[in-house]
Symmetry: C2
Subunit: 393 residues, 2 copies
């Protein structure tokens, strides 16, 4: 059976070049990058190169790159670090949105329990956060605005440049979780670039064809960030712990490859494959539609609802046919609650529970899309035959 992986937003495989880049760092160049002897300094040089590669990818300074253990840690460090402590007399105010990943949303709730004021902005029916809503929510004590760049479930892209400018005009810091934007959208954080008002930006390695357990928090030079972890003086005192040299080397290489890929024709080709999948499914499956169709979306993602189908049943049925897809975020798998993102967009509970995310990777081929199109409509039809509500409709 051919296996077709359409769940790249959950995680990506390593690229062979990324695997190759980290190969010397397991047995040969294995030193601790803080050691002053030659094995340590070899590791340090490799870290420096990776930091330069990441800085080049983000159009920022090497000193603005903080390597972390992943997206969750990056988001937590950004929110806790920028908010700082709150108390009853001087509570800080955090603004975030209803379409964040849980790494931001749950952290915001934890900050709320610790005394901060927290505002959760709504989105419109296409999943977009309106700049006017942010403008209206700002308060004198707003310390941080955190808004996801591209949503993991729908691919919907927020107007980050505009939102960040609004936050800055008000004197608040701006963070964006760009885990699902990296390698799909240009990220130019230079002082003259479109993202010049973004102060903090989170990346995850394993969504970018680099290893799980790696990530980056971009921290603009002007930002004072309280650390989340305490220990050694690694990462300029912003993130202690012996550096994960092979992982960071891999992430640097992955950033370099992502930059080159985005400048290539393959980037547009992937969006065409996504469009072919989306159009094919819509044409062959009645009572279906695209969630967030009216918004700009990342080129690899489509989130479709199939009325009268339980997403989890469809995920399992497709898995048996060799196709890996997802009902919402991987971190939510097995959860009985419908996606908070789709609910925020105004979908009914039933429709949210009947929605599937298809996310293509750079390795996805036209042949795989055609094969998927030959399988999925039939799988949906079979499940509907078992549905009492479908028969009535």
């Amino acid at each position: 059976m051919q296996r077709i992986y359409l769940d790249a937003n959950a995680t990506t495989p390593l690229l062979p070049e990324v695997l190759e880049a980290m190969r010397p760092f397991w047995l040969e160049v294995f030193g601790n990058a803080s050691s002053i002897h030659q094995p340590g300094q070899q590791a340090r040089a490799a870290l420096d190169l990776a930091r330069d590669q990441m800085a080049s990818f983000l159009h920022c300074r090497a000193s603005e790159v903080v390597f972390t253990s992943g997206g969750t840690e990056g988001d937590n460090l950004a929110l806790f670090g920028a908010m700082g402590p709150s108390d009853a007399s001087t509570p800080g105010h955090l603004i975030t949105t209803s379409v964040e990943h849980n790494a931001v949303l749950k952290t915001a709730l934890a900050l709320g329990e610790a005394g901060a004021e927290v505002t959760i902005l709504p989105c419109n029916t296409q999943g977009v956060v309106e700049p006017a809503a942010l403008q209206a929510a700002l308060r004198p004590n707003t310390r941080l605005v955190s808004i996801i760049f591209a949503n993991n479930e729908t691919g919907v892209i927020q107007p980050i440049a505009e939102l960040a400018a609004i936050a800055h005009a008000h004197g608040a810091l701006f963070h964006t979780d760009a885990v699902q934007a990296a390698g799909k959208l240009p990220l130019d954080l230079s002082p003259e670039g479109p993202l010049r008002h973004v102060d903090l930006l989170t990346l995850s390695g394993h969504k970018l064809y680099a290893p799980k357990g790696t990530g980056v928090l971009f921290v603009r030079r002007s930002v004072r960030l309280a650390p989340l972890l305490f220990g050694g003086s690694h990462e300029r005192h912003r993130r202690p712990g012996t550096e994960n040299v092979p992982g960071i080397v891999a992430l640097g290489k992955a950033a370099e490859l992502a930059g080159a890929w985005m400048a290539s024709k393959e980037h547009a080709h992937l969006a065409q494959l996504r469009d072919r999948l989306e159009a094919g499914l819509l044409a062959s499956i009645p009572a279906s539609g695209v969630n967030g169709a009216g918004a700009p979306r990342t080129g690899n993602t489509t989130n479709l609802y199939f009325d009268h189908v339980e997403a989890e049943a469809l995920v399992i049925a497709l898995d048996l046919k060799g196709i890996a897809v997802s009902g919402g975020s991987a971190c939510h798998s097995g959860a009985t609650e419908p996606s908070h993102v789709l609910k925020a967009m105004g979908l009914s509970t039933e429709r949210a529970r009947g929605s599937i995310r298809f996310s293509l990777s750079r390795l996805t081929t036209a042949q795989e899309i055609d094969a998927a199109l030959a399988i999925i409509p039939d799988a949906v039809a079979r499940l509907r035959q078992l549905s009492p509500t479908w028969k009535q409709s």
Copy 2:
């Protein structure tokens, strides 16, 4: 030039079997372990196996193993998580020691700044924390006692079973940073075992021949721990973030290998190599001695002072001869302050600055020790010839 690595307490290379164990998880079995499809479930099964391997190594339940990004995160999670919030009306009390790794010591200081009461216990001249000192320091509001199992700089082993029993008898939780004990000393955390009073125990992968960026916090079933990071429900809500599947697989394998190695004759052989190195250096270098010689020590470590020698100069001189050693903790490299551990043992600043850590790995050979013994005394003598104080003495 032969390269001889005697800095295993800074970091270890991967064992070839560990590298082999994680090989399938980069390109083939690359799924997100939270995904319900087959690629995800394959990753989940690998995680489950690694968790069982680690539980077997620690003689604990699989559910008591929390995978982290390393020793620093484990120590931070243990201290913040067990202490919980403090305020002026109900401050918690933390007891730790002057011979901790910075991942505990700096975290304790951060807790102190956040309102907790913190006691730093002294050690004796051999680096051992006296049980009577702990007994005397306990207060009605002592929530946690955190004491390092084996010191990273000296190898000195604390009487952890006894110290933990004292903490428990008082109703306080007990944590130990066992990063340098794992794979060197038996760690039996079973409810009937000698470490039954240890509630929390930190391990780091890269000191155990597994990758950097991996670690474990053992959390005894009875312990309620507040999370440090917020996001998904991974690790039973104790540590969110997509699991680092290859790293965890490697760590599980490394734990299995460590258990087998400790039961083999090689374990005693390594201690003999260390003893040969130590005795050879003491015999051939005047005005030298072993720091912590009077205490039980891990079998791979010796920390020697060479009067009238700057440790950093000797580290560099030996590096030029192909020998990698360390002046104190790697995390402290380049720091101008002398080791806080050696100072706590009562060494003068000069002697602390003239002390070198030699830490052998499982891969160290007798030939390497003999080669090192042929090089080191001469290097010390040459440096002393440049020292005005040596010429006067």
